[in-house]
Each structure stands twice: as C-alpha cells, then as structure tokens.
C-alpha cells in the first residue's frame, strides 16, 4: 500500500496538470464593441437641439440606419479572410438632450466571442442585406433589430435602411417649418464601406472600434430646399444620393 501511494499521487498530479491547461483546439476569443458617435460637424448630435445649417437653424427628429454583415478582415491583398461580427443591427443616434452622456459615449453594439488576433480592416454594409430584405418585420421575434414596424415599407417591399428627419428654420423666425424626411430603402440602396485599419483583439480586454457619423454630411450636395423627402420608390435618385453620403461622407472610423 505504501508503494501505491506515490503512484496515486503522481497520477493525480498528471491528471490535474493536464486538465487545467486550456484546450489547444479552442480559439481564444474576446468581445468587440462597435461604438457609433453621432455628430453634427464638430458638435455632439442630439435630437431637438439647434445646429447651424448654412446660416439657418436646423434640428433633428431622428437619425438612424441599419448595418449588415459587419466583418473583420485579415489581409487586404490576396485572399482576405473574414470574421463575422454581426449579421444585422440597428444604429440609432436619436439621443435626446437629457441623454447627453449617452450621446457623448455613443451608440454601442457588442459582438461577443470574436477570435483574438491581428486584423487589417473592417467591412460594414449599410442597409439590410438582400436576403434579409426579402423578409418582413413580422418575421422576427421580440427584440430582434428587424422587428420594427416603423422601419418597414410595404410599398417598397423593403426595410427602411435609414431615416434622417430634420426641420430647418429657413427664415430664422423661430418656426422650423421646412421639413426633411429622407427615408431610404430597397436593394439598390445597399452600400458597402471598407475601412483599412490595423485592429488588434486581445484576449484579456474588450476591444472598441470607434466610428463617427456626421449627420450634416447626409445633406451634402443635396438641395434641401427642393428635395425634402424620399418616401416613394420613384425617389430612387435621391435615395441613392443619401446612401452615398452615408457611405462616403458621413461614416468615418477613428
């Protein structure tokens, strides 16, 4: 029995030694935060807050958009390898003035369990990908980002990809009577934005990727005096202009 004791002790040591080591087949992961900060030129964006639009007061009622198939990319040249962060989500930058702390902090979407490592860029699609855009808001359960009856347009058979609603006090008389309601949608409005950027995900810390979205740039090169709304499938030219602005001018990575 005395001879058996060291064997049992040694076996136990080996067992604990190996059982405590991480499984080398399991990939180390971490959480990634996508932080979207709304702004109007250099100011924090909030609804019902007055900003300057070419000399006229402007204020926003809402500003939001869908993002789809967001992926981290390894190797820009050759064969890029993509790691999915999320399939679909809704970025709502319609913060109220009472929520200025949240507005300053930004709208945060967390993608859990993303493999750690070095990435060379991030790809964001703006709008709802065509496979999901074939569905309707009623197809989704409570809490899903697509379960928004106010963001589906049955006549378009499309989700509303983005809503930019604002009012301008053209005469600076206190009456915000000039109304802008740019609603975009349909597969043709879908846009892809790629940001080349070294992104390192460490195992021990949540990583944040910061974006800014400048609401003022949504109107760039659009005659807001005459082009006041996009609700109709026949407004596709304007829809495309708005989505181009979101893709090329409003959305940036820090």
């Amino acid at each position: 029995m005395k001879k058996l004791f060291p064997i049992i002790l040694f076996s136990s040591f080996l067992f604990f030694q190996y059982s405590c080591k991480p499984d080398p087949t399991l990939e180390a992961t971490t959480d990634v935060e996508l932080v979207f900060k709304g702004k109007y030129a250099d100011e924090v964006l909030m609804i019902n807050t007055v900003y300057d639009y070419d000399g006229s007061p402007i204020r926003f009622d809402q500003f939001n958009f869908y993002i789809s198939n967001v992926v981290l990319v390894k190797e820009i040249v050759g064969n890029p390898e993509e790691t999915e962060l999320l399939e679909i989500d809704f970025v709502d930058l319609s913060f109220k003035p009472a929520d200025i702390t949240d507005a300053t902090k930004g709208f945060v979407i967390t993608a859990p369990n993303i493999p750690v490592g070095e990435y060379s860029g991030i790809k964001i699609n703006l709008g709802v990908a065509s496979d999901l855009n074939k569905t309707s808001w009623e197809d989704y359960g409570t809490g899903h980002p697509l379960r928004k009856p106010g963001h589906f347009w049955s006549a378009w058979e499309s989700f509303i990809f983005s809503k930019t609603e604002a009012k301008i006090d053209i005469d600076s008389d206190g009456s915000f009577s000039h109304k802008l309601a740019y609603h975009t949608g349909s597969d043709a409005a879908y846009r892809t934005k790629f940001f080349a950027k070294d992104i390192t995900l460490d195992e021990d810390a949540t990583s944040s990727i910061l974006f800014t979205v400048d609401a003022k740039m949504m109107f760039d090169e659009i005659d807001v005096m005459t082009e006041t709304g996009t609700h109709n499938i026949n407004d596709m030219d304007l829809v495309n202009e708005v989505m181009d602005n979101l893709q090329e001018k409003a959305l940036a990575i820090e």
Binding site: N48, E138, T142, A155, F176, S177, K179, A181, N234
Partner: protein, 369 residues
C-alpha cells in the same frame, strides 16, 4: 350545551370582526383548494398572415383556464368599488372594445380626459400601453383601472377579498394557476388572467386581409386608390403619409407621435402632456400612441380625446394639418396633403376595408354571464 353556545358566539364574533379594512387573512378568507384538479391546457395563438409572433411572457403562459378566468374578470363588475362597472363598461366588443364616447366616465360619474382605446390586437403592442405608454405590459396595465379614481375606483386589497370570498372564482384561480388555497388569490394573478384574455383579442378577418392574404376579395377602384395613397405605393397619386405612424398590416407603427392636433406656443403648454407626462421629457410632450387603424370605422370618436366624430373629419384634419409648423416636435410627416374630395373619400373607403365584424361578434370575446 354551554360549549355549543360558546362556539356560536365565537363564530358570530368572527363574522362581526370582518370589516372592509381587514385583510383576508384577518377575516379568515381561507380555504383549501387542493382537491380541485389542476390540469391547465396550453393555448396556442395561431399567427395570422402578415402578423408577427406575439410575445408571451415566460411567467404567464397562455392556458384555456387562464383565458376563461380573464374573460370572467373582464366582464365582471366585481372589479369596481360599487359593483356597477367592469372593463367592458368602456370596452364594448361590438365597438371593437371601445365605448363610443369621447371620454369615458367612471363609477363616481367623473369623466376622464382621454378616449377609451381599442383592445383589438393589443397583444402585439410592445412599446408602452395606454395613450401615454405608461404601462410596459398587459399584466401591468390590467392593474391600473381598478384603483383609478376616474375608472373603477376600488382598491386591489378589497377586490382580492371579494375574489377570495366568491363562490366560483377561487376554483377558477385554482384551475388557471394551481393555487392551493383561496388566500393565494392576488392582484398579480388576476392581472395575468386578464392579460391572457386580452392577448386572444386578435382581428385578422377584414376585407383587407381577404384581399391581401386570402385572395377571397378585391378592392374597389376607390379602395385601391385609397390604399396606394395610404402607403405611398405608386406615383400619380399624392402621398397621404398615413403609413409612417399606422404601418400595415397591423395598422400601427407601435410608437408615439405629435400629430399636430394642438396649437401650442411651446412644448410645455400642452393641456395633456401624453408621453411626456410619463417620460418627463418635454420633447415627448403632446405625443400619443398611434392606435391601430384596424376596425377604425367602429371606434369613433377619434384621437386621444375623442375630438373628431367621423373619419371624414379626421381626414380633413390631416389634409389641412393646421398646426404642422406649430411646435417643434410635430412629426415631420405631418404636412398639408392637398387631397381632393375624391381622394379623401378614397382614403375613407380604404379605411373601411379594415373593418372586421367576425372579430366583434366572436363568441369567445362576449360576456360569459
């Protein structure tokens, strides 16, 4: 013999000691219910075409027994202080669960300030119930009218006592929720039962449903024009801007808006703050829930205060939108529509296609008494 007299005297004293202010336990309203079978049958909501799955809270699954108890409570004046009014007093099935008057009157003859809301498809509401969104769930909502001084004006403590002391409710609570003793009847269980009943109030048999989903009917030319203006479906007709707040197929975007009803100098001047009274955010003042437009032809008068008697008046109001520039939080889609008389009539005709009398006559939604 003296012992028998003493026993009667003791029982007599116990009865006398049960005043209105006593709790049921003090009054001795107890009673074992465990001999009554508890075998609740699951109730599955059939999803109509074009409808989402209804969210059912995990702690209040739908059962046949729970719904039946909820229906009894909904129609029973036992919920009011003087036993004269019940939920149905302001929510008639024949009027799509509204009451046909601008503002409802409670048991004390006090008139409220808001119109009774339709309960049609109420189970699909996820963003705050009541005109001002003050309750997050049907279970929360069902608790409110009982103690509201301008509604049923009772106390839940008293209602619980009445239910515990009732000849049939303890058995129904047992069958629905498996309580062991009548003393376990609570306002929370009563609210759960009423919420279950309300979740069954589904309307999906209108002409609109028959045209869009069932292929059993066709719109008239006028109705078709009305729908295309409602949804801004096609060029050549004006955009009536309806679907922003009343998205189809449920007829509501499940959200709150200032539709420019009132002319105010500032956001603090609304007579009724609506959502702002709940959120305490002035930007929400004057915003009210956009109700479903299903069965809208049966739910006059209209708006949160019942100010419009007819659908024609409502369409005229939106066509003019006299206050669209008046306050900073009027929705951007509220603007003069410049509709012709024919176009306004087309819209009204389309709204009538949302009428569902199969729903209003459904025997499962009528009084069990």
């Amino acid at each position: 013999m003296n012992k028998i007299y003493f026993l009667f005297f003791f029982i007599f004293l116990s009865i006398l000691s049960c005043g209105n202010d006593d709790t049921p336990e003090e009054c001795g309203i107890t009673g074992d219910l465990s001999d009554i079978p508890y075998n609740p049958q699951n109730y599955t909501i059939t999803k109509p075409d074009g409808f989402p799955e209804m969210f059912i809270p995990a702690d209040n699954p739908m059962t046949v027994e729970g719904i039946e108890l909820g229906r009894h409570l909904f129609f029973d004046p036992i919920l009011s202080a003087d036993s004269t009014m019940s939920c149905v007093s302001c929510h008639f099935p024949s009027l799509s669960f509204t009451d046909g008057v601008a503002t409802s009157t409670g048991i004390d003859g006090i008139s409220g300030t808001r119109s009774s809301m339709s309960l049609l498809n109420i189970g699909y509401v996820e963003k705050g119930l009541f005109w001002d969104g003050r309750s997050n769930t049907l279970e929360e909502q069902a608790l409110v009218p009982i103690e509201d001084p301008i509604e049923l004006h009772d106390t839940w403590e008293n209602v619980e006592s009445k239910l515990k002391d009732h000849p049939s409710y303890p058995e129904m609570f047992r069958e629905a929720f498996g309580i062991e003793d009548r003393s376990e009847i609570t306002k929370e269980l009563a609210a759960k039962a009423m919420a279950q009943f309300e979740r069954t109030l589904i309307s999906s048999n209108s002409k609109y449903d028959k045209v869009i989903f069932q292929g059993q009917a066709a719109f008239t030319d006028s109705e078709d024009r009305g729908m295309r203006m409602y949804t801004d479906a096609q060029g050549g007709l004006p955009d009536a801007e309806c679907a922003h707040c009343h998205a189809l197929h449920l007829g509501t975007s499940d959200d709150f808006f200032n539709n420019g009803l009132d002319s105010v100098g500032s956001l603090t001047e609304f007579m009724d703050l609506g959502l702002g009274g709940v959120t305490q955010d002035t930007f929400d003042n004057g915003k009210f829930r956009a109700p479903t437009l299903r069965n809208i032809a049966l739910t006059a008068p209209y708006m949160h205060d019942g100010r419009f008697e007819t659908l024609e008046e409502v369409i005229d109001f939106y066509n003019e939108s006299p206050n669209h520039e008046n306050s900073s939080n009027v929705d951007v889609n509220i603007r003069p529509l410049e509709l012709t008389d024919q176009q306004k009539q087309d819209l009204v005709n389309f709204l009538h296609t949302l009428t569902d009398t199969v729903f209003t006559k459904n025997p499962a939604f009528q009084s069990p008494f």
